[in-house]
């Protein structure tokens, strides 16, 4: 466990030194949200209608941005070899990478989400639910992301391949995440949608790291 926290601490320190990656993801998220009023017009009724979906799609796309560097750098500079002979299980390495991605990209996007939502005239009472749903949804994305990043290691144009691999898998997250926010904005109960997001996270938590661990091992072979 000490070893695992050591790995997380190192990658968080690296994320702090590469803060530009986090800023780029947050800026992308806010810009993507901000573009919609220009495209569909400033009518608050229209914007409020699409706000939940737009914030969700923008958040997922923004969280994808730093994914290809998640293990790509480690693969290229030999760090991945060292991690695989460190005695840590490859799946544990994958969980650590997903955790760092969530902390360094998911959480900043969560913090920016209320601003994106306000720009799109989302009812204020839906914002707490939006943040809660995004917290679960971005965690699922981090887990799927590490699996995708590990699978595309060493592939030519891995950066293009990665979203093609991951985005279809995020559709269930998107459906229940946007549904939760819409329900909250019209004052309906959001328990079932959040529970479904939790269930998706519970399913991704063991499966994605196992797949990622196997992919990491085969990438270095």
């Amino acid at each position: 466990m000490t070893a695992w926290f050591g790995l997380v601490a190192r990658d968080l320190a690296l994320a702090r030194r590469n803060a530009g990656d986090t800023l780029a993801a947050v800026a992308f998220f806010l810009l993507a949200c901000g573009l919609f009023p220009f495209a569909v017009g400033p009518d608050p009724m229209v914007l409020a209608r699409i706000a939940a979906g737009v914030v969700w799609v923008a958040a997922l796309l923004a969280a994808l941005l730093p994914l290809d560097r998640l293990v790509g750098g480690d693969y290229e500079d030999g760090t991945l070899d060292q991690l695989l002979v460190s005695g840590l299980h490859p799946a544990a390495v994958a969980v650590a990478k997903a955790a760092v991605h969530w902390l360094a990209t998911g959480v900043p996007i969560l913090l920016a989400a209320p601003f994106g939502a306000v720009m799109l005239a989302l009812p204020v009472r839906a914002i707490p639910v939006l943040v809660a749903a995004l917290a679960l949804g971005t965690a699922v994305l981090s887990l799927l992301g590490i699996a995708g990043a590990a699978l595309t290691l060493g592939a030519r144009r891995g950066g293009v391949l990665l979203p093609l691999l991951i985005l279809p898998l995020t559709i269930p997250v998107l459906i229940f995440g946007a549904a939760a926010v819409e329900a909250a904005s019209v004052g309906l109960a959001v328990g079932p949608q959040l529970a479904m997001l939790g269930a998706l996270l519970a399913a991704a938590l063991p499966l994605a790291p196992l797949a990622a661990g196997i992919a990491l091992r085969s990438a270095v072979e």
Partner: protein, 206 residues
């Protein structure tokens, strides 16, 4: 590491390895006991690096058996990983971290004393320098320091003298000798003479 020397710990029988679907070496057999060193020789492309990666549990074993104290390594790669310190072609360093930070995080992952490791490779004056500004030889020394963290019985060294100056090569000789004196084993590949005494050699045919 208290076991008496002379009995083979690491044993390869008719080992063959492939890379990218191509057989790069075959029929490799050797035994290694505590305190022993094995130097891999061979032309470029003879499979020295591939063999080292197989010994580390990273490469794919095409044929044959690699065993540790009689047990097949492939059955428990995780246990095998804990026995290994690997010095690869790449130094596996992050330019944004300082030398001390690099080794402190490594020590949290593997155990061991950072200060001793830094002192052993003569990097004290550069401990607070970011890896970004180090020369290739200094980076190699940081990678050497990583070997000293966490008391691994088997060191796998891929061209360890690359980029090292004369003093660096002497340092390498010193830490390898100390490792073997503690009962550690070393498998190293090189084109040049390595500062490793009484090493057996294994020539890989291209």
């Amino acid at each position: 590491m208290q076991q008496k020397s002379g009995t083979a710990v690491l044993e390869a029988r008719d080992l063959a390895g492939e890379r990218g679907g191509r057989l790069v070496f075959a029929g490799v057999s050797f035994k290694l006991a505590r305190g022993e060193a094995l130097v891999l020789l061979g032309a470029n492309g003879a499979g020295k690096t591939s063999l080292l990666r197989v010994l580390a549990g990273l490469g794919r074993v095409a044929e044959g058996v690699l065993s540790w104290e009689g047990e097949n390594v492939a059955e428990d790669l995780l246990a095998h990983a804990a026995r290994i310190a690997l010095l690869g072609h790449l130094d596996a360093l992050k330019p944004q971290l300082t030398v001390f930070e690099t080794l402190r995080y490594e020590a949290r992952i593997r155990g061991g004393s950072v200060d001793e490791a830094i002192a052993a490779v003569g990097l004290e004056p550069l401990a607070e320098a970011p890896v970004r500004i180090l020369s290739a030889g200094q980076r190699r020394r940081v990678a050497l320091a990583r070997l000293l963290l966490g008391n691994h019985p088997l060191w796998l060294l891929d061209e360890p003298t690359v980029a090292l100056d004369a003093a660096g090569v002497a340092t390498l000789g010193r830490i390898v000798a100390a490792h073997r004196a503690r009962g550690g084993m070393v498998v190293a590949s090189s084109h040049l003479d390595l500062p490793i005494e009484n090493a057996r050699t294994l020539r890989l045919a291209a």
